[in-house]
């Protein structure tokens, strides 16, 4: 089977061809359709750049990227994205913030008039999965930071994207909220099976959620190792206290420490 995301010798340089900063160097990576990948690595190693390259938001300097059998040339379509800060629209309430992608992507956009009620229902279902029932009519300024972040995650999922890119989406949350959202995200992934690429600083998060953890190093940004996570799904939260989990955690941690110095 063809990989869903395919990085073939990709390098990306910010600034000039020669003396610019080499943010990605010779990246080779294949991601299967429906796979859940996590990328970890020290700050500044090019994780966000990796996402920008995948979605075609920044052109690569050499090599090629294929997403869903198509070579990436400009911004790709229909990808869901969420970042560390929620970036909600302050003039829209929760429901309308979640619905935003459906006003933009095809084919949902052209069915907006007819299917509106269905869309609102699926937005409500998503909000329920992240425990936000009752906040549909509230505006961002009436929500806590963690609640806003959950809305932002729902927004990235509403159009059922085949590819979901998450750049430290849980980074600013407290531990309990974060763990709740891990479980919610795993549920959603099991149900809809999108391909997910999750960038994170949190090794526990990566090991708990991903099928495969990619470890990157900085200067130049490159992939140094990968770890396949064998645990069965659905994974219970208690798995994070398991000794096997601990071993994988430590091994990844060691590899990051090695490349950080």
């Amino acid at each position: 089977m063809q990989p869903f995301v395919d990085f073939d010798n990709v390098s990306l340089r910010y600034g000039g061809e020669e003396n610019g900063l080499l943010a990605l160097s010779d990246i080779n990576l294949k991601v299967k359709e429906g796979e859940f990948i996590a990328i970890v690595g020290p700050s500044g190693c090019g994780k966000s750049t990796f996402l920008k390259a995948t979605t075609g938001l920044w052109p690569v300097t050499s090599g090629s990227i294929t997403v869903n059998q198509e070579k990436v040339r400009g911004p790709v379509n229909c990808v869901g994205m969420a970042f560390q800060n929620p970036t909600l629209l302050p003039w829209r309430n929760t429901i309308n913030n979640v619905l935003l992608p459906l006003e933009v992507v095809q084919p949902q956009r052209s069915m907006w008039g007819r299917k509106r009620q269905d869309y609102i229902q699926s937005a409500k279902d998503l909000l329920e999965m992240v425990n936000l029932t009752g906040s549909e009519e509230k505006f961002p300024w009436q929500l806590s930071g963690g609640m806003q972040q959950r809305v932002s995650i729902c927004r990235s999922l509403i159009h059922e994207p085949k590819l979901l890119m998450l750049d430290e989406p849980f980074g600013a949350l407290d531990m309990f909220t974060r763990e709740d959202l891990w479980v919610a995200l795993q549920d959603i992934w099991l149900k809809k099976r999108p391909t997910i690429i999750l960038v994170t600083h949190d090794i526990r998060e990566a090991v708990y959620l991903a099928d495969r953890v990619i470890i990157m190093a900085a200067r130049p940004g490159r992939i140094v190792a990968e770890e396949v996570i064998p645990f069965e799904r659905p994974r219970p939260l208690s798995l994070t206290f398991d000794s096997e989990f601990g071993k994988i955690f430590s091994s990844i941690r060691e590899k990051i420490t090695e490349v950080s110095v």
């Binding site: 990808v79 869901g80 800060n85 003039w91 933009v104 300024w141």
Partner: protein, 259 residues
């Protein structure tokens, strides 16, 4: 108790204005300032009552020229702001020219306008437009240009076109900037219209003040000034109320929370 202090908060500005006039009145009495230098408020109000009809006629003229110039400033300011804000390159390209243009004292332009359009209403409308157009345009452009890059990425990755981003996010986002600029621009528009009237007109508050000054009718000059500031405060108030109604979300999401 809280209610009382809320009411007090609303009334304080009024007290300040009343106190200002009382101190002014007392000062003119106390220091025996002659009314051809600084007329007392009571004298000014007296003049306003006596010449109510002609003053209102001139005020009406100024008000409508200002409003027409201002309406043009809004239309072109919005349009220019959207165009400049949508492209950083255009923004950078035009900015120096616009700054240079905006630095020209508008009073120096009025004689040229008179040569082009003759004496009267048209130069006043154009001055009001010229002076109030710039802040509106720059504010709208800034509101659009300062869009969070992540939000833009989210939309681009969904396959949004430039136009979608503009309509869904850019323009709504620039509205608080737009309304904030309206409050500044409306007072500037008054200044523009009145400057033009003082130089080249046969009616309007500006004309009224210059002709009164040439007759040394200083109380009437002050009456003109007072009417001007009342109109200014009134228009500012209208702009502020519209702002509150339409983009209250901007104030709530940054400032103190209502409710």
């Amino acid at each position: 108790m809280r209610n009382f202090s809320a009411i007090l908060d609303k009334l304080v500005p009024l007290f300040v204005i009343i106190a200002f006039f009382i101190i002014w009145e007392l000062a003119t009495v106390l220091f025996q300032i002659p009314s051809f230098l600084l007329p007392a408020p009571s004298t000014i109000f007296g003049v306003m009552a006596k010449s109510f009809v002609p003053i209102m006629g001139h005020a009406g003229q100024t008000l409508w020229t200002t409003c027409i110039g201002f309406a043009f400033a809004i239309a072109f300011g919005l349009l220019g702001g959207v165009v400049l804000g949508s492209s950083p390159r255009l923004y950078r390209a035009f900015y120096p020219l616009l700054i240079g243009f905006n630095s020209i004292p508008k009073v120096a332009v009025v004689p040229v306008l008179v040569i082009w359009f003759g004496i009267g209403t048209i130069p006043a409308i154009i001055s009001a437009f010229l002076i109030s157009f710039f802040p509106i345009m720059v504010n709208v452009a800034t509101g659009i240009a300062t869009l969070e890059p992540e939000l833009k990425d989210v939309l681009l990755a969904l396959g949004a076109k430039r136009r979608d981003i503009m309509v869904k996010v850019g323009i709504p986002r620039s509205m608080p900037y737009f309304f904030a600029s309206l409050k500044i621009a409306i007072t500037l528009a008054f200044v523009g219209a009145i400057i033009s009237e003082t130089v080249a007109a046969n009616s309007g508050i500006g004309y009224l003040m210059v002709s009164a000054a040439s007759r040394f009718d200083v109380p009437l000059v002050f009456a003109g000034l007072l009417v001007t500031s009342i109109m200014g405060v009134g228009m500012y108030g209208v702009a502020a109320v519209i702002e509150q109604r339409t983009v209250g979300w901007a104030m709530r999401s940054t400032g103190a929370q209502v409710q």
